[in-house]
């Protein structure tokens, strides 16, 4: 192979080629900018958006439908093999989701993911699409995702394929509320109740409706990452008026033990009163309802 001379002036780009390359690059950039956005991307976006919209509307505003040819109904959660289409809302209450339907959908997905996705795609006409459906807190975002959980800490709804990091993905949110989304513990008389829950809490309150005859009412709330290792109470009060509601959501969510451990134990020590503890980690408590966000990605 001949050696190249460093001081040779051969093989340099001429002015003509530089101009030619510049014109070519400008034309190339122009084509990249205009043609894909005008003819390909927008069509794709519209298709994905309408698919996401349809999927969200059917899930949040329809109770679903099943039939075996002679009998039919909307309680598909009891008739999975005859289900025509899945819906999550309570009949005649669009936007109010049924926990029973959500739990059934998630358990069917977990039983056999591939079979479920194939069936689900056929129901909603999604054979040419990928999707991811989940139930999250209203404040949840892509950077800080907070899934809605049931009272034993299990994620209520998360199904579909992992969301890709690149490409054309459409996201649609629906604000919904859950029927019977609050968990209630009776706190009448005296004793202890221990709750094993996964933070963050959308709402945690202690309601005192009345005091018992004789004695001074008292409430203490303890928090621990390990059962039995209680330490000092995070909330301690002797109420003097009734009825009264103590919202301790921020106290619990701000507690370092709760925020650093995935699952925590909360002990409520109650003495000489009538009332109840109420909490949810399925969503935020707004206007007397447990509010969540159904998040749908389609690509």
């Amino acid at each position: 192979m001949p050696r190249t001379k460093l001081n040779s002036n051969k093989a340099q780009l001429s002015l003509d080629i530089l101009i030619g390359l510049t014109v070519f690059m400008l034309a190339f950039v122009f084509i990249l900018q205009y043609i894909p956005s005008n003819f390909i991307t927008q069509e794709n976006d519209v298709s994905l958006s309408s698919t996401a919209y349809r999927l969200a509307a059917l899930l949040t505003e329809s109770p679903g439908y099943w039939t075996n040819g002679t009998i039919s109904g909307t309680d598909w959660e009891n008739h999975w093999n005859n289900t025509v289409i899945v819906g999550l809302c309570v009949e005649d209450h669009p936007g109010m989701l049924s926990l029973k339907k959500i739990n059934e959908l998630q358990s069917k997905y977990e039983e056999n993911k591939n079979e479920f996705l194939s069936t689900f795609s056929k129901m909603f006409g999604l054979k040419n699409y990928n999707y991811n459906i989940s139930l999250q807190f209203p404040s949840s975002s892509l950077a800080n995702t907070i899934y809605s959980r049931n009272n034993s800490g299990k994620i209520l709804l998360r199904l579909g394929k992992p969301i890709p990091k690149y490409g054309n993905v459409v996201k649609l949110d629906r604000i919904v509320y859950l029927k019977n989304g609050l968990t209630i513990y009776n706190l009448t008389g005296k004793g202890n109740i221990v709750i094993n829950a996964t933070p963050p809490f959308g709402y945690f309150a202690i309601v005192i409706t009345n005091r018992s005859v004789n004695g001074t009412p008292r409430i203490k709330v303890f928090v621990s990452s390990r059962f039995g290792n209680w330490g000092k109470p995070v909330f301690n009060i002797k109420p003097s008026k009734y009825p009264v509601t103590y919202n301790i959501t921020n106290i619990l969510n701000g507690n370092s033990t709760i925020s650093t451990s995935g699952s925590s134990y909360i002990k409520i020590n109650f003495h000489k009163y009538t009332g109840y503890a109420v909490y949810t980690n399925a969503g935020a408590y707004i206007a007397g309802r447990v509010v969540s966000k159904l998040v749908i990605y389609v690509w």
Binding site: N9, K10, A11, Q12, L13, S14, I17, F28, L32, P36, S37, T41, Q42, D45, S49, Y53, A56, P94, G95, P138, S139, S141, P164, K165, Y166, G167, N168, V169, V170, K171, L172, D173, R174, I175, V176, Y177, A284, I286, A287, G288, R289, V291, K293
Partner: protein, 178 residues
């Protein structure tokens, strides 16, 4: 100036091929690894904003709630105290969406029926807006004295109306992306 036609300054074949390959690789990467985009290229779409608005008003319109702290649309408008409602709407919306809340209602003023508006918030929109609305029905007797609807005259009768006269209110929520 006369340009001599020599063989100097020409691009060698190998360099040409390398340049072409580089261009192809760059163009492929531009197509394949464009950043993840949600919805259309304009960010949150009008459909999404409308959906947020409709859903939020539906959640807040909870007349069956026992809540006495102005946590629902009905109680907030009855008592003319929307502080809690505004906080709740903010809680349900993403951080990059802002809103204005107001009401519209019919009222006879000097014998003429007019549609009057009252704005609870006065934020200034920074992009195109989407407005959603929901109708609420009140009996005048259920309104608190400080409610702006208390003295509304919806029938046009001069000698005053029955306290059971129904008052229809249109609650308007205007949303935009910031």
């Amino acid at each position: 100036m006369v340009i001599k036609m020599t063989d100097r300054g020409q691009m060698f074949t190998l360099e040409g091929i390398i340049a072409a390959v580089l261009l192809l690789v760059v163009s492929y990467m531009l197509f394949a690894y464009s950043p993840l985009t949600f919805s259309s290229s304009s960010g949150i779409s009008a459909i999404q904003l409308k959906q947020y608005g409709d859903d939020i008003l539906r959640v807040l319109d909870n007349s069956s709630s026992n809540s006495t702290d102005n946590a629902t649309l009905e109680s907030a408008i009855k008592n003319n105290n929307v502080t809690v409602i505004i906080k709740e709407i903010r809680e349900m919306l993403p951080k990059d969406v802002n809103f204005n809340l107001g009401i519209a209602y019919c009222n006879y003023t000097n014998g003429v029926l007019t549609v009057e508006k009252y704005e609870y918030t006065h934020n200034i929109p920074t992009s195109s807006t989407v407005t959603v609305w929901r109708y609420l029905l009140f009996e005048k007797t259920s309104l608190e004295n400080n409610s702006i609807l208390k003295n509304v005259n919806v029938s046009g009768q001069n000698n005053g109306e029955s306290q059971y006269t129904p008052v229809v209110v249109e609650v308007r929520l205007t949303l935009w992306q910031v």
